[in-house]
């Protein structure tokens, strides 16, 4: 998604009100922007707190400012700058973090981002975008730039959206299957593991949510859960503040009875061991095999 992101920005870089700031990252990905944007491309160095406040200052003068780093650095280090300077003032500063979830794998826990949506999506005025595919990345970024309010964009591994899904205002939805026995709501590129786990003939409605906070239950999702009474949520994020909790709350709020509700999510480092993204997904039960088994148990 990083290259896709960079190409997207390059296409709109002629708009004079766009400024791009990197926290000293972007090797082999952002050179195109540096060459094209001149003094509207800034390398703020290894200084994330300053980067976000500077961005707020620039945005206060009429610019839309994109700040780029790897996800953990741009979420946690400068949270107060994001809250006080950007969100309190409702400024169009868009923080883009590469490598959400366990993306950076064996680089270690400092480089993982498992609590970003819980951390950011409660801030005032912000919208968090978690594209799951290359296709919905464009939609998310179109909205982000048009909205002119604080935003967070979580980037990961991008694949094409399958034909069985259609984009919606909150992510993606299937054609509802009247015979469906369970509803899956998934978030971020780990949805690709769900897609791999779903045999083509299974009676499952799969939804993808790519915007947080998720505060309204879409009609078709409500209809699906009313029909199936069984919900599985899947996310590469901790349970607290993630999509599982949001769906559970909205089901309750909409008085939808659910017989079985299960949340597959990031479990941190259950064995205290580290490895690549697949290793961590497996340790959290987010791998295709486990998801497949869980789905089978729902469909029994």
């Amino acid at each position: 998604m990083r290259k896709h992101f960079s190409n997207y920005i390059e296409k709109i870089a002629d708009q004079e009100d766009i400024v791009f700031i990197t926290g000293d990252l972007g090797y082999n990905a952002l050179e195109n922007l540096r060459d094209k944007m001149s003094d509207r491309f800034i390398n703020a160095g290894v200084a994330e707190q300053n980067m976000i406040s500077v961005a707020a200052g620039i945005a206060s003068q009429g610019f839309r400012v994109v700040c780029y780093s790897i996800a953990p650095f741009i979420v946690y280090r400068c949270l107060e700058q994001m809250r006080n300077d950007v969100c309190f003032h409702n400024l169009p500063v868009y923080i883009a973090g590469n490598g959400g979830g366990y993306h950076y794998g064996a680089l270690g826990s400092s480089h993982h981002t498992l609590e970003d949506l819980a951390t950011l999506s409660g801030l005032p005025n912000i919208r968090c975008y978690v594209p799951a595919f290359l296709d919905d990345m464009n939609t998310c970024m179109d909205e982000m730039f048009a909205r002119r309010q604080p935003a967070y964009l979580r980037l990961g591994i991008g694949k094409e959206m399958p034909e069985s899904l259609s984009q919606t205002s909150y992510g993606a939805a299937p054609v509802l299957n009247e015979k469906a026995k369970m509803t899956i709501v998934a978030q971020c590129p780990v949805v690709n593991n769900v897609i791999a786990a779903l045999a083509s003939n299974q009676e499952v409605d799969l939804f993808v949510v790519n915007r947080m906070p998720f505060t309204e239950m879409p009609a078709e999702m409500a209809a699906s859960i009313r029909n199936t009474n069984q919900v599985l949520t899947v996310e590469e994020h901790v349970a607290v503040g993630g999509i599982g909790m949001a769906v559970a709350t909205l089901a309750e709020k909409n008085a939808i009875s659910v017989k079985r509700f299960e949340c597959l999510c990031a479990q941190g480092y259950p064995d205290g061991l580290y490895g690549n993204q697949n290793f961590h997904q497996q340790a959290s039960g987010l791998d295709t095999t486990n998801i497949s088994n869980v789905i089978a148990s729902f469909l029994e």
Binding site: G45, A56, I58, F63
Partner: protein
């Protein structure tokens, strides 16, 4: 022109406000008042100022009240419920307070951002930020200093209200002098020092800083006295925190009247 008795008059108002609100941070407001008066009575179109030491908010409210931007009626709501007059500036309430502050270490990089935006747009005007000396302990000071130098922000003027007191001690007893002119000069700022209660001297330093379009950001270290103008509040840590009882209030007003010939 700055009215002759303004320094005394606004001190009396700050004391009134804080007495009615039973609030503290009086010493901090009296420390930086003269810098704020100088800025607001000499500002030019395109200039902006961020009060990064947000706890001195009663000083900026008093000046904006004098200039008519905050009405007497609104002034009466300081620290009250359903008010926009909080103990640290609230977001987006007054045109002359561009950013809410209160957590230290934000104003300097915000002001650097404003200065950078002016450079990109090729606009005039100066981006000022008023910081406390204790505030320069914050790591963002180091970050923003280098950003400002690297980006040649000669339209950025940082003013440090150097009263030598911070949260729980004298600056020399806490982390040492992070607002030392030697430090700032070594890193690459154009540094000047001024007596921070002398309106003419401060104005001159502003003028000099604005004349030097040399690619170098500026810092003006204003040597001040915490609690300036109220004898028993001067140069003590106590009046960073305390609120006044009635006897102290009367004594404070008498002290200001005597010191400023009101």
């Amino acid at each position: 022109m700055i009215p002759q008795d303004l320094q005394g008059k606004l001190r009396a108002r700050i004391i009134d406000m804080n007495y009615k609100a039973k609030s503290g941070h009086i010493g901090s407001a009296l420390s930086c008042l003269d810098i704020l008066i100088t800025y607001f009575y000499n500002r030019q179109p395109g200039d902006s100022l961020i009060l990064s030491k947000g706890h001195a908010t009663s000083a900026i409210y008093a000046v904006l009240n004098e200039l008519g931007e905050i009405s007497n009626e609104v002034m009466e709501t300081f620290y009250k419920n359903a008010s926009v007059m909080t103990g640290h500036p609230a977001p987006l309430k007054f045109p002359s307070i561009p950013f809410a502050t209160g957590s230290l270490g934000h104003g300097f990089p915000l002001a650097a951002g404003i200065a950078k935006a002016k450079k990109i747009k090729k606009e005039g005007g100066t981006s000022y930020v008023l910081m406390s000396d204790g505030e320069t302990n914050e790591g963002t000071t180091w970050e923003a200093m280098h950003f400002a130098i690297q980006n040649k922000l000669d339209n950025l003027v940082a003013i440090i209200d150097k009263n030598r007191w911070q949260g729980f001690g004298n600056i020399s007893d806490v982390l040492g002098d992070t607002s030392s002119p030697v430090v700032w000069k070594t890193i690459g700022f154009e540094v000047s020092e001024v007596q921070g209660h002398d309106l003419v001297a401060i104005k001159n330093e502003f003028a000099i800083a604005n004349q030097h379009k040399n690619g170098i950001p500026k810092v003006i270290i204003a040597n001040t006295i915490k609690g300036k103008g109220v004898d028993f509040m001067e140069d003590t840590l106590d009046w960073h925190y305390l609120s006044m009882n009635e006897a102290q209030y009367r004594a404070a007003q008498a002290s200001v009247a005597a010191n400023y010939g009101l």
